[in-house]
């Protein structure tokens, strides 16, 4: 349970952090809340020579609303999101997801940015980020770029962020009022075996459904969304559409849930998430 020895740096600004990343390249790892990275280091699965602790960079910790979008700094903790009045008002899906992450201690330290960049296939955020079509603003030595959620979660434990880039801020629309996140948790770890974020747009008669925990990466349940386009969102329609929640993916399989059971839970959770979302807002 002891990591390989490492050097530690605590930059005071994003520029300083980026400079350190450029200097050390592959030898360095960015540390946010630490609740994914430090366990990996303790197991020696990750052995960074330099830890760049960005925890002191105040710019990265914020929640505000601008131009109909809500900006959440990458270092905002799950707890800060869970308890944010602004978010409860303008994007209640996010506090709902945050409250289901891990436990209180994890929520006090873990950050939305760190969690998204880590891209655990069973992490909770990706389902909501995909459903919201969130935008990830990423900073590198050569400037900023914005990555759409659908391009951000590339694969298992792999996000689209470059090795020399740092996630700065995540933007989500301030319009998703009929939304819900339901989660069937793995009993030991608390991670999602099937976590579904559903957003219902009652005006446009469209839904967005993000699923995590089921496949090697989180995904949008496109077949479910197609089935419900223009529909009346009755229980029967939802139930029938939810049957497609595992279409087109290769579900993961382990001792906690076989691929078959995971696919089944995806359907069950999709149904519940859609019903719950439809009943709100």
């Amino acid at each position: 349970m002891i990591p390989v020895a490492f050097d530690y740096a605590r930059p005071r600004s994003l520029d300083e952090a980026l400079g350190l990343l450029a200097t050390h390249g592959e030898d360095a790892k960015v540390l946010a809340g630490g609740h994914s990275l430090i366990p990996a280091m303790k197991l020696r699965l990750a052995q960074p020579k330099v830890l760049i602790d960005i925890g002191g960079i105040g710019d990265l910790r914020l929640i505000n609303q601008q131009d109909g979008k809500i900006a959440i700094g990458a270092l905002t903790t799950h707890y800060e999101i869970e308890s944010s009045d602004l978010l409860k008002q303008s994007c209640p899906l996010l506090p709902e997801v945050a409250g289901k992450i891990g436990d209180m201690q994890v929520r006090n330290k873990g950050t939305i940015g760190g969690s998204c960049v880590h891209a655990d296939p069973a992490g909770d955020w990706p389902a909501a980020m995909l459903a919201l079509d969130a935008e990830f603003e990423v900073v590198g030595r050569n400037g900023n770029r914005t990555i759409a959620a659908k391009d951000f979660f590339v694969g298992m434990l792999t996000s689209a962020i470059g090795a020399d880039e740092i996630l700065k801020v995540i933007r989500v629309p301030a319009t998703a009022k009929s939304a819900a996140y339901v989660k069937f948790a793995q009993k030991a770890s608390g991670f999602a075996i099937a976590g579904v974020a559903a957003i219902v747009d009652k005006q446009r008669k469209e839904v967005a459904v993000g699923v995590t925990g089921v496949a090697p990466a989180a995904y949008r349940a496109a077949s479910v969304e197609a089935s419900l386009r223009g529909s009346d969102l009755s229980s029967a329609t939802i139930a029938s559409a939810a049957e497609k929640a595992a279409d087109g993916v290769d579900p993961l399989s382990d001792i906690h849930a076989s691929a078959e059971f995971r696919a089944h839970l995806a359907r069950v959770q999709a149904k519940h998430a859609l019903e719950l979302a439809a009943s709100r807002g």
């Binding site: 790892k29 990996a40 197991l43 020696r44 699965l45 990750a46 960074p48 880590h118 891209a119 296939p121 069973a122 694969g155 298992m156 434990l157 792999t158 090697p216 290769d250 993961l252 399989s253 382990d254 001792i255 906690h256």
Partner: protein
Amino acid sequence: MKLAATYTFDSPPEKVFAALLDPAVLQKCIDGCEKMEKTGEDSYDAHLKVGIASLKGSYIGKIRIEDKKPPESFTLNVEGKGGPGWMKGKANIRILPKENGTELVCDSEGQVGGLIAAVGSRLVEAVGKKMSDEFFRKLGEHLKA
């Protein structure tokens, strides 16, 4: 862990077969392969740095090519050992002619042990598939060039 996958290439079977038995090609196509040392007829030590994202470990993989039946099939045997644990795999490769190219059928089974089995078991199958896909994608690129 068992995997079955099929890949297609535009090149003829003989070319695919030859490429697969060329250590230089193997090194190019195996992601994270830093060095391939020939240790005997049809056997090599591959120095690998594999994993996902930043969770990479260093392994030495002993590769043996067996049951060569050119240009149709062979078996690839790999035994890897490293800090995070060990792995052992066997892949039966069948190379079949197809109109305008080759169809390659890969039937593999593998086992892992040590730390990776203990903490990563849910990912092992997916990682295996990913590595397999990556390898054959790179092979395809190499063959086109």
